[in-house]
Symmetry: C2
């Protein structure tokens, strides 16, 4: 059994990967990139620290532009990020089919709201793409905190464009450099948790 | 981190246990018993084959009688079994609190309908009992089949009172022996999958 895990270098996507690996699944990481900024580099370093192969899924810049349009129209990022995530997952399923991976996974968890596939979207994805989809719905917030702090060495820093592989990085790069808008007004400051190895 | 896993000896509850164990959780099994029949014995054998400690949670026969009343009134078992499962999970949470286990788990999965706690019931349970609850919601049917067949040696037999630790065994025993009703009319014949070791 082979699984592609959508990867940001964060604790949630690291957890689902290690969990699958420990029960015998061949796991590889995949980070989406829209050709705007090399935002996959932090994820790549985290992947290396876990000894798991890391792949880049190159997607069209138009997809990112559509997400940015949604975010600028809304004045907040949630719907644009959800739009992006769903397209990334669809493309991850295609990549899995191409390379004979039976399964795709992401680090969304029971308590997450966005970006997240609901039950009917999961069912639709699995049926249309003939793929198996896995996430962290088994676990609540507290359990994930406990598991993560037992499993991983973590680095916590204020988020910036070079320590994060979240969708946010390329979204903000595009807004700041092509839209003449300061993305700081749309994205609150936050801390970035990046996995830097197993304990 | 310590977790009690509600255990039938079946593949789903075995999977959640092994999964937690492999990511560093101290796991023990618990099987509920209502004092009507020693239905925990098959689960006990499965637990031993996995090298995981097995505990019996002794509950009042009244709870089983209430479930049987529901089943006989409905003419089918789903609601009665769901009633029973929810009470068992509440009592498992109390046992966990008594013994300083932070977490309880069961083998219900994304595609299950009954017996299953929905999201709001999980939230309520965790809040009221100050407990963490885990299940197999991360995974769909196909993924669980694949994981299980890679992980476990399985024994498949037509279900009977002495090869299963499902709620069904004590429910049927009570119906057959105290209600003068043949429980065969309420429960369809089915095959019992019992874990007999790791591959």
């Amino acid at each position: 059994m082979k699984a592609y895990v959508l990867y940001s270098g964060g604790k949630d996507s690291s957890l689902i990967a290690i969990l699958l690996k420990r029960i015998g699944v061949h796991v590889e990481f995949v980070t989406a990139n829209f050709g705007v900024y090399e935002s996959y580099i932090p994820a790549s370093k985290s992947a290396e620290s876990l000894g798991i192969n890391h792949n880049i899924l190159n997607l069209d810049k138009n997809i990112l532009e559509k997400a940015v349009d949604i975010i600028l129209k809304d004045g907040f990022p949630n719907n644009g990020i959800t739009y992006l995530h769903k397209i990334v997952v669809e493309n991850l399923a295609d990549l899995a089919n191409e390379n004979n991976f039976s399964t795709i996974a992401d680090g969304t968890r029971r308590d997450d709201r966005t970006p997240k596939l609901d039950k009917s979207e999961i069912q639709s994805l699995e049926d249309r793409k003939n793929i198996q989809y896995v996430n962290l719905d088994s676990f609540g917030y507290k359990t994930i905190e406990n598991l993560v702090s037992n499993l991983f060495e973590i680095n916590i820093e204020e988020s910036n464009r070079d320590n994060s592989s979240d969708y946010e990085v390329e979204i903000r790069y595009l807004i700041d450099n092509e839209k003449n808008i300061n993305s700081k007004d749309l994205f609150p400051k936050h801390f970035q948790t990046r996995v830097i190895g197993l304990r």
